[in-house]
């Protein structure tokens, strides 16, 4: 960086004399703020603002790189085509289904894990690690690992089920079981982050509140619903929003586990965008699909911002 030599040199000079470079490098607050925020602003402009404009622009064009034809303005044609495209409806439906199943699922499991991890264990690190490892594991790895878990002949899931007398399930041959396997995997992968956030919230609740409730004769269950849950609400809301937005973007786990199969029955909107863009090089339609996903997550963000505002 620019500033390394400055200390030594400016110590040697008289208080009155400031060389030009000190003035240049030691500017007023406002100029300095612009200088410091500029790299972040440039990056955001390059990777988010300009691409968003480009995305909306391209969604009104017929632009296919395979045809080699120049982009042709088609108005809302991409969006009209989408309405009649069964794969669009299927993948959007799957994405919404995954969101509605895995977000509450991860919340319930995460809450349970957090309550368990909050018990006074003699050693904290094994518990902490057991929550960190699923978080740190790449989603794509989790997809592969659980594809092996749910293997119909040699998978450990069917082995355990078999010990309880359940017939082996051929997970990836039926749309319903494949979707169930995907959702279970996503819930496993995402619940520990939820648990970490909730656990941090749990540890800020003062013990005296529970002691007071004990004195008042409130039972454990009543304490949970009247002290724990209300005080956890802020951290739960934040965790839920992030989880919802990432659930809408689900790609890695179904791509690795089923690649959308059987047929397109477990394909998500992100997978359809990826296919149209990278495999078919149909950038116009890919953009139109991405605009839909963008709109979906904007709705979630709007709800989020509104919750923050009402909070205070």
């Amino acid at each position: 960086m620019t500033m390394t030599g400055s200390t030594k040199s400016s110590r040697t000079i008289d208080g009155n004399v400031t060389p030009w470079w000190v003035r240049y490098f030691d500017p007023s607050d406002r100029a300095l703020a612009v200088l410091l925020l500029a790299p972040a602003a440039v990056l955001l402009a390059m990777i988010i603002v300009y691409p968003v404009c480009r995305l909306i622009y391209t969604s009104f064009f017929n632009l296919s790189l395979t045809s080699g034809l120049p982009a042709e303005f088609v108005g809302f044609e991409n969006f009209q085509f989408m309405l009649e495209d069964p794969v669009f409806w299927q993948t959007t439906g799957n994405t919404v289904l995954i969101t509605f199943v895995t977000v509450p699922g991860a919340l319930v499991v995460g809450l349970a894990l957090a309550l368990m991890a909050n018990l006074p264990f003699r050693r904290q690190w094994p518990v902490r690690l057991s929550l960190l490892i699923p978080w740190a594991l790449p989603l794509s790895f989790a997809g592969l690992i659980f594809a092996w878990f749910f293997h119909s002949e040699y998978g450990v899931v069917n082995d355990v089920l078999g010990r309880f007398g359940v017939e082996p399930i051929i997970w990836f041959n039926s749309p319903q079981w494949a979707m169930a396997a995907i959702c279970l995997t996503i819930i496993w992968k995402t619940s520990s982050f939820m648990a970490l956030i909730i656990l941090a919230g749990l540890q800020t609740i003062p013990r005296s509140l529970y002691e007071a409730a004990d004195v008042d004769g409130a039972g454990r269950i009543r304490q949970f619903f009247e002290i724990t849950l209300p005080l956890l609400k802020p951290s739960i809301v934040v965790a839920l929003i992030f989880r919802t937005i990432t659930a809408l973007q689900t790609f890695d786990i179904p791509y690795m586990m089923t690649n959308g199969g059987p047929g397109t029955s477990t394909a998500t909107l992100a997978m359809y965008i990826h296919q149209n863009t990278v495999s078919f090089l149909d950038l116009g339609y890919g953009s139109a699909l991405a605009v839909v996903m963008f709109a979906l997550s904007m709705c979630v963000t709007a709800v989020y911002l509104r919750m923050i505002r009402t909070k205070g």
């Binding site: 500033m3 410091l36 790299p39 990777i47 902490r128 690690l129 960190l132 802020p234 809408l248 997550s297």
Partner: protein, 286 residues
């Protein structure tokens, strides 16, 4: 279950004795570690043992042959190198950019501070997947498809919001007097930032770095879409190549997965407390 019988005795000493805590601890440990352990067991088995019925749990005759094969069937070393390069470069860039931005937001009296902070929060919820198409178009036009840059820039933006928010709260915790003293001694403001504030905020900077690294290490969709050339595949992209059209060499895939999990697992084990505090402070603030 057999697994509980195996792991009960070492775990017993880790948790205080009551049966409830023992059971709860076992549930937590199974949930957290079992999938990774199962992959480790699979990676130590050979194909014939894998196709036995009923399946075996612990490997009867552990072997490292799958690891040798994982490195010879596909250029696993190259995948690791690419993953490390992209993750480290984007971590360095994220830290540099977010330290500067966070300092401005924490220390200078900005008129639009509140607005900028809410913009950063809005960006942190931005679905990067939707930008797959325009980023693909831009990288293609700039001839950056199949280059580290194509991933380093988006990964930096992916981690920038959470790292900036984390660092703002770290910088706010450092007394202003120290900086002022340095500036009276003739340090410039930016000199004071790098000589006084950053060293004091080192734990925070380091935690932000780990989060940025893990984010970049995990990313799959952009890596799959932008860098498909054999020389530039990252680990998550490369790992799918072990499967043939009709074959799934699970022991070899498992060995490659274990190799891919180890670097991040080491980071997590060593720095677990910092990672947890970083994650939760960012999450609660964000």
């Amino acid at each position: 279950m057999r697994s509980s019988a195996i792991s009960a005795s070492p775990v017993d000493s880790l948790l205080s004795g009551t049966p409830l805590r023992l059971i709860v601890g076992l549930i937590l440990l199974t949930n957290g570690f079992f999938p990774a352990l199962w992959i480790l067991f699979t990676s130590l088995k050979l194909e014939p043992e894998l196709t036995q019925q009923p399946i075996t749990w612990l490997p009867s005759d552990p072997t490292i042959q799958n690891y040798v094969q994982a490195f010879s069937d596909q250029p696993l070393g190259l995948f690791l190198f690419n993953s490390f390069a992209v993750a480290l470069l984007s971590t360095a860039l994220t830290l540099l950019v977010s330290v500067l931005a966070a300092y401005a937001l924490a220390r200078l009296n900005l008129r639009y501070r509140g607005l900028i902070l809410s913009l950063i929060i809005a960006v942190s919820t931005f679905p990067l997947v939707t930008l797959l198409v325009p980023l693909f178009e831009i990288m293609r036009a700039l001839n950056l498809l199949n280059s580290w840059t194509a991933l380093v820039l988006p990964y930096t933006v992916l981690s920038l919001p959470i790292c900036t928010l984390m660092l703002v709260s770290f910088f706010e915790g450092i007394p202003r007097d120290l900086e002022n003293a340095a500036m009276i001694d003739g340090c410039t403001r930016i000199g004071a930032l790098f000589k006084v504030v950053v060293p004091l905020a080192a734990p925070g900077v380091f935690t932000a770095g780990i989060l940025a690294f893990v984010n970049a290490w995990d990313e799959f969709l952009l890596a799959l879409s932008f860098n498909s050339s054999p020389n530039l595949r990252t680990l998550p992209v490369g790992i799918q190549l072990y499967q043939g059209e009709f074959t799934f060499p699970w022991p070899v895939i498992s060995a490659a997965l274990v190799v891919g999990i180890v670097p991040v697992a080491i980071l997590i084990v060593i720095f677990q407390e910092r990672v947890v505090s970083g994650l939760t402070s960012g999450g609660i603030k964000g």
